[in-house]
Symmetry: C2
Subunit: 372 residues, 2 copies
């Protein structure tokens, strides 16, 4: 594990190895003003898709960097929030592309958080059956998770990410300086996914996170660069082994079946995705303990870390056990009527469990709901 | 070339060779009642997507055949027509799948013509980032063209097939008996694509079509089976060489840039796709002659064959040259601002031509518009 102090302002690159769809993730402060993206834009045209929060902060700088390299750049700024990650917003992107006469070689650049990345990625996957795509994630969550691995999509009123595609970007540019403008709540939401990688894959990394969680919350650039690098390395390795989620990629859903149920039940946008995953990982830990996979002390340690990252450890009181259980069945992880869950075998090692006992699931929901 | 009489009621199979995405096309009379599809449905559930014209004719028979094999089958019947090939109809499919709690292994079966195949294919490509997909085309056009090759999608108000994906079916089942119920106008529209294969790839096949066009219009089953088999062989070979249209697959667009402009200009649904392609091929032939690629007698021969198939050979008088020219620029074949057209080098051999002289294009439109 690199010492935070030694990595300050050193840009680094993680390669995602997917054969002919391989791509680099550039990580470092100030990269948005650089020319790393230029070789990945195959024609003279690019369209930046951003939102009304992020565009005023970074769109002009990114545009200038690309125009300096001779590119024509158009910008569309969408409304900000998970509640806009839907087919209607997707259609606004298509309308914009048609209006600007974008063609099959026009590159779409997602500038923003996970919502912008997911929706822009699906627009790129589907516009004219696929145009080049680049991710410039500006939230910690997007930098460590949603911008890596090629999952794109939008929500359906009845379920999250129900409509989408696997579509890899040409490259990812994670500018750590863009985290300076990130609200505390969103920084914590990103830490949920960082913690997830430690929990499911690498106990050493988990130890490192525990030791550095305060530095991360204080936005120490060295600590953030290291957290992003390690997270991307783990995700890249898992995606390399299983691009289309036939097997171990499903482990990345640790905490997500519970989390998605919380998000859907509360209405998209009220809980941040990372917040729901934080609570969801505590629920997965509780269930893992109930099924005698991990001990009570480990559950406690996980809850403590998640709380120290500024995240909720409990499902919201206003959702009933029945409602949460029902929402879990609408999640994509149901196959042929069976609910599959990612649980913990031990710290640093997640496993897929089929046909989990329904009573145990309900008991976990009961036990992990906040008291009203 | 097989003699029509010898192939009556002999089912045949064409294999589309795409590595791990390879699939068979079953061609024959009465296959809809058989069990060819069953091994290609990986779980216990299938959803038939059809339209209100085709569903009453064939949905029950197909459902019975699948239920006999132990499958649970749901049916959604969409409104019939190219004007419904849009995002709104796509959303109806998603809503239905969510309502029925379809999961990632639920197979979508397209039962109908090209519109149903294209929209269902894109729904299958995008629902939960991809579910199994089967084509049961019931029009000649879909059997020889749209059901083969994996192009799926919907129209945008400003352009045809602007939103979609490359997504291969698990198998295709072309029941020639289903052509008995096809209106004459749609049969002719299907013949446009059959003629296209001869024109662009195989002069012998073109000769055969000229000799058999009357038998085809009279729905001689042997002639139809042979026309479908040859068309699928040619399309399968082209798609095998170039699945994602980086090169020669573009040749399949012979007549289509003109044709799409006609369809868009008239409003989707007024001209059938095959009718627009019929006129579009005459326009491509005229332009090929203007550029001294083919002689006047060849243009005449092409026009005669297209007319004998019951197809228009002229663009509609009500669209101005200016309007048609402008609509051609919205077509997907524009890349980085350049219009590429498929033209004829000789009979049985098409070629892609970049930077076609704009005056020649306008002259062709002028010369090939119907007189009002």
């Amino acid at each position: 594990m690199t010492d935070p102090a030694s990595s300050i302002s050193q840009p680094t690159t993680v390669n995602v190895d997917l054969g002919e769809r391989s791509y680099p993730i550039f990580i470092g402060a100030g990269l948005i003003d650089g020319d790393e993206l230029v070789p990945f834009i195959p024609s003279s045209r690019a369209v930046i898709v951003s939102n009304t929060t992020v565009a005023p902060l970074y769109a002009e700088r990114l545009t200038q960097a690309l125009e300096a390299a001779g590119k024509r750049v158009d910008l569309i700024a969408l409304p900000d929030g998970e509640q806009y990650k839907n087919l209607e917003t997707l259609e606004r992107i298509y309308d914009f592309l048609m209006e600007k006469q974008a063609d099959r070689k026009t590159t779409l650049i997602a500038l923003g958080g996970g919502v912008i990345g997911d929706i822009t990625g699906f627009a790129a996957a589907s516009f004219q059956r696929g145009v080049p795509f680049i991710q410039v994630p500006t939230t910690l969550l997007a930098q460590v998770d949603s911008s890596v691995g090629g999952k794109t999509g939008v929500n359906h009123p009845r379920g999250k990410n129900m409509i989408g595609a696997f579509y890899q970007p040409r490259c990812v540019l994670a500018d750590t300086a863009s985290l300076d403008t990130l609200p505390d709540r969103e920084l914590s939401a990103g830490l949920a996914e960082v913690i997830k990688y430690g929990l499911l894959w690498d106990e050493d990394f988990l130890d490192w996170i525990e030791a550095n969680v305060d530095a991360l919350r204080q936005r120490d650039r060295g600590a953030l660069t290291e957290a992003i690098r390690q997270s991307c390395l783990i995700k890249a390795e898992i995606v390399r082994q299983d691009e289309r989620e036939g097997g171990i990629r499903a482990l990345l859903n640790l905490g997500h079946t519970f989390g998605h149920a919380i998000e859907a039940g509360m209405g998209y946008g009220r809980w941040l995705h990372g917040e729901a995953v934080g609570a969801g990982m505590c629920m997965a830990a509780d269930l893992s303990h109930r099924l005698e996979l991990i001990d009570a002390a480990t559950v406690k340690r996980i809850e403590t870390l998640i709380a120290s990252a500024g995240l909720p450890t409990r499902a919201p009181a206003e959702l009933s056990t029945e409602r949460l259980r029902e929402l879990m069945d609408s999640d994509k992880k149901v196959e042929d009527g069976r609910l599959r869950l990612v649980l913990l075998g031990r710290l640093g090692q997640a496993r897929l469990v089929d046909r989990v006992d329904d009573e145990a699931i309900r008991a976990t929901i009961e036990a992990t709901r906040a008291t009203a």
